[in-house]
Amino acid sequence: MGKGKGDVKLLGAWPSPYAVRVNIALNLKSVDYEFQTENLATGSKSELLIKSNPVHKKIPVLLHGGKPICESLIIVQYIDEVWSDGPSILPSDPYDRAVARFWAAYVDDKFYTAVKGIVVADGEEAKAAAVKVLKDGLVLLEEAFLKSSAGEGKPFFGGDEIGYLDIALGSLLGWLRVTEKSFNVKLFEEATTPRLVSWVDSFCKHPAVKDELPETDKLFEYAQKVVYPRIKAFAAAAAK
């Protein structure tokens, strides 16, 4: 049974890591919500999506009492601030909040581009270089983790409980696993990111998370059929 504060509806899609962030945040706060799927494969957008996010026409969109909130990390902060009686998603200390926001922005800025870079890379060398970009990013996050919570023996970036950066990064795990499978690479390794390796395990088992991350095989197929061709076509058109 969830706590309501008016009706809550999420426009999302199972393959979208950005929508998954919102699912996780809502679960963490035990909020009852209605989930409406947008069909990302066909690319056709529902009227409700277009009306609710006219600027970007993208998911996720959270509708709370009919009012739309857009952009995944903005939605997560909104959820944290509205359902303030559940576990805190952002830390309470302003400096810790700044650090969490910094790394979440880093994830959004770099990781998607890095994954796309691997998909469009032409030839083994280019691919290896693109994979290195992603792995270097993960090493930075490993260091950040060590400096904060992991250094204190805590399982999550948020400490004992998952928080903002856990959600921001963890939501990408489905896609990171698909990247590993598609290109036969290991992104999280004991040698370079030991704490993140344990973190991945803890995160995926978390009750607010475990039903939300897409199954690797299902996402892998979706990537091959829909997403990778789209990324490649887009890159080819841009190169002309």
């Binding site: 600027v55 709370h64 009012k67 909130i69 857009c70 952009e71 903005i74 939605i75 902060q77 909104y78 601030e81 509205v82 302003p94 400096y95 909040r97 700044a98 926001r101 910094f102 922005a105 880093y106 930075l140």
Partner: protein, 231 residues
């Protein structure tokens, strides 16, 4: 308020992102040391404080660095709780302010910045100008909805979105001069035109906002002419 030396800001007078941090600090009446980076080089302190991006602004408070302009502005708001609130108190209003600030950084600024690279290429310039004008149109509409007749997005006082947009005003004026076009003007964005006037007069802004001419001169001296067309 606050001991000098306790708060440092690494930045440059030309950067719209640094400008945000300066306005926020001024709004909260915080004493700070402004460490002006030299054009074309990065100080050791900058490289040490922001090793990931090596970019300004960086706020240093109690020797701890905070990076990314909007993260800095929120940090300032949350740390110095006296003085005007930068983010609104209502969660929905906060989400709206954050949405438009993100829009500025993800969509608006790239278009504003990249038009320089296509200077002289008529069609490409038109495309970029259209993008910029559409963005300003959206912001003009948003201002009406959000301000509800008050002078700023934040209401009676500057808020998060005012601060986020403030840094781009002078650069928009640079583009107006370079491309001989009206962008922030009563004929194109009537509400934002009034907002610019209110912003420019605000005590936290008026002594630090650069003129378009000063920026144009800086570009000439430090960036040289725009690149030639690709073909």
């Amino acid at each position: 308020m606050g001991k000098k030396g306790e708060v440092k800001l690494i930045g440059s007078w030309v950067s719209p992102f640094v400008f945000r941090a300066r306005v926020a600090l001024n709004l909260k009446s915080i004493d700070f040391e402004f460490l002006q980076e030299k054009a074309g080089s990065k100080s050791d302190l900058l490289l040490k404080s922001n090793p990931v991006h090596k970019k300004i602004p960086v706020l240093i408070h109690h020797d701890k660095p905070i990076c990314e302009s909007l993260v800095i502005v929120q940090y300032i708001d949350e740390t110095w709780t006296h003085g005007p609130s930068i983010l609104p108190s209502d969660p929905y209003d906060r989400a709206i302010a954050r949405f438009w600030a993100a829009y500025l950084d993800e969509k608006f600024f790239p278009a504003l910045k990249s038009i320089r690279m296509v200077q002289g290429q008529g069609d490409e310039v038109e495309k970029k100008l259209k993008e910029i004008k559409e963005g300003l149109g959206l912001l003009d509409d948003a201002l009406v909805k959000i301000s509800k007749g008050k002078p700023f997005f934040g209401g009676e006082e500057l808020g998060y979105l005012d601060i986020a947009l403030s840094g781009f005003v002078a650069w928009i004026q640079v583009r107006e001069k370079t491309f001989d076009v009206k962008l922030l003007h009563e004929s194109t964005t009537p509400n934002l035109a009034v907002w610019v006037h209110n912003l420019s007069a605000h005590p936290a802004v008026k002594d630090i906002i650069p003129t378009a001419d000063a920026l144009i001169e800086w570009v000439r001296l430090n960036l040289g002419p725009p690149p030639p067309p690709a073909n």
